[in-house]
Symmetry: C2
Subunit: 432 residues, 2 copies
C-alpha cells in the first residue's frame, strides 16, 4: 500500500475515502495516563504485590504471551460470548503480528497453503508472503464466502500435492467488501472446515461496532477448536498502542513442525509464543497497560467503551449510502445484508452501483471503467479525492471496475464533499 | 531459552546469575508519564501543530519507520559520533525486530547465509531460523573475532555455492563472552568486510555503559556503508517500551530481492520498512514517545541519562571479578581486555578460570565439567543459584565446560550470596 500512502502525501488537501483508520475525534492523551494508572492500581492490589513488583511488570522485560491475557479473556466473555482460556492467548504487536505468527507456525513445508476469501485484506497476503506460505484464493459471494468454491479449492489443492491448512476470513464486515456472514453461513463454514480439516483464521477488527443482535463470532460457535481468533484493539482500543492478540486454543501434537519446533500436546498459543520470542520478544507492557486500563475502565466491555464510536460509524455508513443515492439514484445492490430499497433521487450513471453493508468501515462501489492506480493518481490530482483501487485486494493485481470506499475516519461534511468530488470524477470519466 | 525460564519459575528463591535483564532499582512509572508529556510538548511546539495533530501522531496509526527518528539521529551524534540520516532509521519493536527485518531482507534465496561470531546471542540464531537464513559460525578469539576464520568461512561458503551476505557481531561486550574489540580489530574487520563484500550487522546493546574513551563503534568508523547498526533502548531506555531501531543507510540497487521486492537505488531502511508493514505495521507511537521523552529529558544523551546505571554495572563487574578471586584465587585469564593480575586469596579449583571483560553484563566461567541443562537443574534445586549453560550460544548445542555469568540486575549482596552458592556447587561437582 506504499503507493497509496505516497498519493495521500502528495495531495494532502484531497479528501480520503481510502484510509481505513478509526475516527480520531474521541482520542485523548489524558486517557492514556488514566489507563496506565488504572492498570497500575490493579497490579498493586494483587495479593503479595508491592511497588517493586508493579514496576517490574510494567517496565521490565516480561512474559512473552503478555500481561493482559486475563482481562482479554474477560472482554471476550462479556462482549463476544467466547470462553477463552487465558493461557491460550498471546498478546501481540497489533493484529498483524498475530497473523504473521499464526501463518509462520502453519508453514511447515513449501507444500503448505492458506485459503483466503478474496478480495481480502492486503495485510493477510503480505503476512503470508513474508512467511513464505502459498495463498490460494476462494471466491467471495454476495453472502460472504462461496462455500462450494472453498471445498473445490481445498480439493484442487490436495490434488496438486498441496496441503491446505487453514482458511482466512473476516466474517464481520469484510475488508474491502463490508459483507457480514449470516448465522447459517457461519455454521456451514464451520462444518466444511471440519470436513476439509482446515483451521479457520477469524479476523474480527470491526464486529464490535455491529448490531449486538447480529450473529455470534465463529469462535463463539466453535466447539472443536477449529477457529483461531485474531483480535485487534486498533479500532476498539487505541491504534497508537499497537496491541492485538490471538486466541489459539488448539492442541498441537508433536508441534506444528514449523519454526516453532516440537511441543507434544501443547497449546498452539505456546508455539506462537516461541516464534514471538524470536521476533519481538514480548509486546510492550506499557502499551498493554494502556489497553488493560481501558478494559478496566469499562468492566471489560469494549462495546460499552465504544458507544460513541459505534454511533459515529453507523451514522457515517448511512450518510455514505444516502449520499450515493442522492448522487447516483437507487444503485445499492443489497449484496452485503444491509437495508435495501433506496429512493435516491440522483441521476443514475450506467455501470455505477454499490453494495450495502450493515456495518463496518467499507463498501464496494462498481464503476464502468478499470479503477487502477493511474486513475487514482489522476483523480487525486484533478478532483482531490482518494479511494482504494480494488485490484490491491486480489493476488493477481488485475485492474477491476471497482473502488473500495472507506468512511470511518471522516465527519459528515467531509463525506458530503468527498462524494461530490467523487461523483464529478465518475461522471467525467464515464464520458470518456 | 524457554527451558531457562521454566527453571527460573520453578525455583523462585534461586539467585539468578543467568538473567541478562537491566537493573530495576532506578525504574519509575512516574518517569513514563513525564516522558510522554515531554514528547507531547515537543510535538505541540512544532510550527503549524495543533492539539489534533499531536493526538494523531501519538494515538493514530503512524509512519512505518517511526516518529522519533530525528531524536535517535541526534542521540547517535551526541553519544556515538555517528552521523545518521534520519530517513535511514527504522524504529522497531525492540532490537529483536530490527534483527529479524534485516535478516529477512538479506535472505533472497536458500543459498544466502549469515556469518555469526560464535558463541553468540541466541536471539540472532533465532531470528535467522525464523527468516530461513542459513547460519555459518565464525570463531570468537580472546580479542573478539578470529579474523582469519572470518575470511576462511566466507571463502568456504562460496566454494560450497553459498552466498555469505553479512557477518553478525557484538563488538562491545559481546553476549555471552563480554569481550570488546579494540580499535585495530575494528579497522581490520571493516577491511575484511570490504574484501569479502560482506555487510557487518553491528549489535550494540551494552556499549553505552563502557568507558567513553573506548573505541568507536564500527558504524562510526564506517565510510562505505558496510555497517548496518542495530540499536536497542532496552538497557539504556526502558525495557518495557520495547523500542529499538536499525540504521540501514545502504543503497539497494534493484531491491534486496527478498520479500521486500524492488526498490531501484532506494535505502535499505525503506526495504526494511516494507517488511515491517507486513509484520507489525508500525511501532507503538506511545512506546516511542516514552523513549523520545527520555531522549529529550537528557539532550539526546543516554550516556548522561544512564550515569547511575553505568556506575552500577561497573561496580557489579568489579564485585563479581573480586568475588571470583576471593573464592577461587587469581583465575582471571585476561581474555576480554579488562584489568588483569588479581591477587585473589581463594582456594583454586583445577579447571576453574574466567575471562575479564572491561564492561557489559556478562562473563564466561570455565569449569572442569560439562555445564549442561541437566546440571543447571540440579544446581538450581540443590544450591539455589542459576547460570546459563554456554552450549545455548552455539548452533550445535554440544555441552561445553563453561557457564555464562550475568550480574547486571543484581545488588552487591545478591552477588555475594550467588557466588557463595555457585562456589559450593562447583566444589561439590568437581569432587565427583
Amino acid at each position: 500500500m506504499n503507493f497509496l500512502n505516497e498519493i495521500a502525501q502528495r495531495f494532502p488537501d484531497a479528501i480520503s475515502l481510502a484510509a481505513g483508520r478509526p475516527f480520531e475525534g474521541f482520542f485523548d492523551l489524558d486517557d492514556v495516563h488514566r489507563y496506565l494508572e488504572l492498570f497500575r492500581a490493579r497490579l498493586a492490589a494483587r495479593p503479595g504485590s508491592d511497588e517493586a513488583a508493579v514496576r517490574q511488570t510494567l517496565l521490565q522485560y516480561g512474559r512473552t504471551k503478555g500481561i493482559i491475557h486475563e482481562l482479554i479473556a474477560e472482554h471476550l466473555r462479556v462482549d463476544e460470548g467466547i470462553t477463552a482460556d487465558p493461557d491460550a492467548l498471546v498478546v501481540t504487536v497489533g493484529c498483524q503480528e498475530a497473523l504473521y505468527l499464526t501463518l509462520r507456525a502453519l508453514r511447515r513445508t513449501e507444500r503448505d497453503a492458506l485459503l483466503v476469501v478474496t478480495p481480502s485484506y492486503v495485510g493477510a497476503q503480505g503476512a503470508a508472503r513474508l512467511a513464505d506460505l502459498r495463498v490460494l484464493p476462494v471466491r467471495e459471494s454476495p453472502e460472504g464466502i462461496d462455500l462450494a468454491d472453498l471445498s473445490a479449492q481445498a480439493a484442487r489443492a490436495r490434488a496438486a500435492g498441496l496441503n491446505p491448512r487453514a482458511c482466512y476470513v473476516i466474517p464481520d464486515f469484510a475488508n474491502p467488501s463490508g459483507i457480514r456472514l449470516d448465522l447459517a453461513a457461519r455454521r456451514r463454514l464451520l462444518e466444511i472446515a471440519g470436513e476439509e480439516d482446515l483451521l479457520l483464521l477469524e479476523d474480527n477488527p470491526y464486529g464490535l461496532f455491529g448490531d449486538p443482535a447480529g450473529p455470534p463470532t465463529l469462535k463463539a460457535l466453535d466447539t472443536t477448536a477449529r477457529v483461531v481468533y485474531l483480535g485487534s484493539f486498533a479500532k476498539t482500543g487505541l491504534p497508537g498502542a499497537r496491541v492485538g492478540y490471538v486466541l489459539a486454543d488448539q492442541r498441537v501434537v508433536g508441534g506444528t513442525g514449523g519454526a516453532a519446533g516440537g511441543g507434544a500436546g501443547g497449546l498452539l498459543a505456546d508455539e506462537l509464543a516461541k516464534i514471538k520470542s524470536m521476533l519481538t520478544v514480548n509486546t510492550s507492557p506499557i502499551a498493554q497497560a494502556v489497553i488493560g486500563g481501558k478494559l478496566l475502565a469499562h468492566g471489560g466491555s469494549l462495546r460499552d467503551a465504544n458507544a460513541r464510536e459505534t454511533a459515529h460509524y453507523r451514522a457515517n455508513l448511512r450518510h455514505v449510502l444516502e449520499g450515493l443515492e442522492r448522487r447516483f439514484g437507487p444503485g445499492g445492490t443489497g449484496a452485503g445484508n444491509g437495508p435495501n430499497g433506496g429512493t435516491g433521487s440522483g441521476d443514475p450513471v450506467p455501470g455505477v452501483s454499490w453494495n450495502v453493508p450493515s456495518g463496518g468501515f467499507f463498501l464496494l462501489l462498481d464503476v464502468p471503467f478499470p479503477a487502477d492506480d493511474r486513475l487514482l493518481e489522476q483523480c487525486a490530482e484533478e478532483f482531490r479525492v482518494l479511494w482504494t483501487p480494488v485490484h490491491h485486494f486480489y493476488a493477481d493485481e488485475r485492474p477491476r471496475n471497482a473502488m473500495r470506499l472507506s468512511f470511518s475516519h471522516l465527519r459528515p461534511e467531509e463525506i458530503d464533499e468527498g462524494l461530490n468530488r467523487l461523483a464529478d470524477f465518475i461522471r467525467y470519466r464515464s464520458r470518456d
